[in-house]
């Protein structure tokens, strides 16, 4: 698909906009519709779009596989330890009142952190799901003119190396 100039240009414009919108949905979730789940999916869709348009390999280059586990676990830990902070500060688990001197501000901060944890985990899970399923179809090169090209290039490179 990367041969189509329209798709490439539009994708390049859209990807940052999608990410920005995801952050808006994430951090405006306290006041309007939105929150971690929706924001995580939107954020992940930017990476999916990137991989669909520019090929799996380039997509993987932007989001290496090791980010998956870090994102998934990091989000859960952020959520959990925001709750534990309430315990450390002398109240029960998940009590956000004590996170700030003002209880309302404390609740606000707590929800913000917790939702960010949710968003992080959801985004990482979504990207991982996409790459896992897309990576399975080695014989079904739907996305893959670019992949084939890249492989040809890397193959000729290794061939040259071997010759040397």
């Amino acid at each position: 698909m990367q041969d189509d100039i329209v798709i490439r240009v539009v994708a390049k414009v859209m990807i940052p906009a999608v990410m920005l919108f995801a952050l808006y949905v994430q951090f405006h979730g306290d006041y309007g519709p939105g929150g971690g789940f929706q924001a995580g999916v939107i954020f992940a869709s930017a990476f999916v779009l990137n991989a669909v348009v520019f090929g799996l390999n380039k997509g993987r280059h932007v989001w290496p596989a090791r980010y998956n586990l870090m994102g998934i676990c990091g989000g859960v830990l952020l959520y959990g330890f925001t709750g534990v902070a309430g315990m450390v500060l002398g109240k029960n688990f998940l009590n956000f009142n004590v996170l700030s001197s003002d209880p309302v501000a404390g609740q606000h901060l707590g929800i913000l952190l917790v939702e960010f944890g949710v968003g992080l985990t959801v985004a990482a899970v979504m990207v991982m799901l996409f790459f896992t399923f897309a990576g399975r179809t080695a014989h079904l090169r739907l996305l893959s003119k670019s992949d084939a090209h890249e492989r040809k290039v890397s193959a000729s490179k290794t061939a040259k190396k071997v010759k040397k």
Partner: protein, 497 residues
């Protein structure tokens, strides 16, 4: 710190899981799992002792939001009895898992294995601790989803683990969906999800068809989850093809937690007085329980794969718990709790011992253990004691629970059922004898691989055996705790026990 124990019980394994997933190298992840399950076990014992000493219900409010609006964790006599079972088995199984997992699972997957392992333990502990019906569903899903992954991890050695895990996933999800449909109906009727609040509000709507439907959905969903005959078909392949450590953990805990949730919902929320409950659920559970006891035992007699054999026997043992529930009396419930506790110990012993054989020989069948009594006497003796406890031989824990079960049936003049229960227990002798005969009375075939055992291999199983014998010989505190648990749901009548 003490007041946080109810939440730490669940939180510790839940938050240790992502840590374990991030760790490289199998021993680190195992270390995290070992320390966490050990701490969870200590917490559950502390909670049990505290609850027994105070005699009241410990309540923990999440974020200091009081019940019915907030979610509360509740430690009463029933949950205090079940928590040590889960965390104790979790701890001993983790002890054994180091060798079993090293033998059976690709080293790259160890970190993820222990993450799923801790999550499934956290999910089960959560189901028992929480006092919120929807929270139960969330924890049910946490423990089930990680259990599906754990079963599927057996595919490195045995490809049949994949279809087994898939079947388990489909049927488990159907069960969970039924539960949540029933819950949705209850929420529509009462506007609350807190278990205590639900129980208070249900009598106002108990004559409605929706309330009866809700009960049917919840009961059916949990029957599937607890593998009550004839909804047990996912269980045998899932236990047989899962990694040995997973079989040991799940056979002792997973279905038991569903039994507990069923008791909590049926007796704690709907209540014995609920119209139609005694006829519909009580009679059904009683009939299916006794049928399951026979079907499971007979299937175990003809089975040659040891994991499948004892998985079939689990169906039978779950049948006995169902009979205890179906008796609809305090003694019956106490018998169900006793058997829940004791069966977890015996199955833990059996599957840990069998797992060690399977890890060495690749499979554990009648052929594998033929004449093995001389080569690995200590492991085989553990299997022998586990089998005797399954039959219900005196001086084992199995005897105590069968005794109270038959007593509960006789209290209500169910003479036929008591006789059938006794008969099916006696039939269990057939499959235990089959193992004794193969292991001790037959010679080791020529060319059979030599089995060996070391202390670290049989100690986990023997911890369970000693517990089985200990609770069989000195059962008084356990019986008292079980009756206290039963009286949470059915208030005591003077002179009972």
């Amino acid at each position: 710190m003490m007041q946080h124990l109810p939440v730490l019980q669940v939180l510790l394994p839940l938050l240790a899981a992502p840590f374990a997933a991030l760790l490289r190298g199998r021993d680190l992840a195992w270390g995290v799992a070992f320390i966490t399950t050990g701490a969870a076990f200590l917490i559950s014992i502390a909670l049990f002792l505290e609850q027994r000493a105070l005699g009241t219900t410990l309540v923990y409010e999440m974020g200091n939001w009081a019940a019915p609006i907030g979610i509360v964790y509740v430690i009463d006599a029933a949950s205090a009895l079940v928590l040590p079972v889960i965390s104790g088995i979790g701890f001993v199984a983790t002890l054994a898992a180091r060798q079993l997992v090293a033998a059976e699972i690709d080293a790259r997957d160890h970190a993820l294995f222990y993450a799923a392992w801790l999550l499934t333990i956290a999910g089960m502990l959560g189901q028992v601790t929480t006092g919120d019906a929807f929270n139960i569903f969330v924890f049910l899903e946490i423990s089930s989803l990680s259990a599906y992954a754990l079963v599927a991890m057996g595919s490195g050695r045995d490809r049949r683990a994949l279809p087994a895990a898939f079947n388990y996933l489909i049927l488990g999800t159907v069960g969970a969906t039924f539960y949540v449909i029933g819950l949705g109906l209850l929420y529509m009727l009462t506007g609350t999800l807190n278990l205590v609040d639900l129980a208070e509000r249900l009598p106002q709507v108990e004559e409605t068809r929706a309330a009866f439907t809700a009960m049917a959905f919840i009961a059916l969903g949990l029957f599937l989850k607890m593998a009550l005959f004839p909804l047990h078909f996912w269980l045998v392949p899932a236990y047989a093809h899962a990694p040995s450590a997973v079989t040991a953990l799940m056979a002792s805990t997973a279905t038991k937690v569903s039994v507990y949730v069923l008791i909590r919902l049926i007796f704690g929320v709907f209540g014995v007085e609920f119209p139609g409950l005694a006829d519909a659920v009580g009679l059904l559970v009683l009939t299916l329980g006794i049928a399951g006891a026979f079907v499971g035992t007979l299937a175990a007699i003809v089975e040659t794969d040891l994991k499948k054999l004892f998985a079939q026997s689990s169906i039978a043992q779950l049948g006995y718990m169902a009979i205890g529930i179906g008796a609809m009396s305090a003694t019956g419930l106490a018998a169900a709790f006793l058997h829940l506790f004791n069966h977890a110990l015996m199955k833990g012993a059996l599957f840990l011992a069998i797992g060690m054989i399977a890890a060495q020989a690749g499979r554990a069948t009648m052929g594998t253990i033929q004449g093995a009594g001389k080569q690995i006497p200590i492991t085989m003796t553990a299997i022998l004691f586990g089998g005797l406890a399954l039959i219900g031989v005196p001086l084992t824990a199995g005897f105590i629970s069968k005794l109270y079960l038959i007593r509960a049936l006789l209290e209500q003049d169910f003479w036929l059922l008591a006789g059938l229960t006794f008969l099916s227990s006696a039939l269990a002798l057939a499959y235990v004898w089959k193992i004794i005969e193969a292991a001790w009375l037959q010679p080791r075939p020529k060319g059979a691989p030599k089995l060996h055992e070391t202390a670290s291999q049989y100690i986990p199983a023997w911890i369970m055996v000693i517990a089985t014998l200990g609770f069989g010989i000195y059962a008084t505190p356990l019986v008292q705790a079980a009756f206290a648990a039963a009286h949470v749901f059915i208030p005591s009548v003077a002179g009972a026990n």
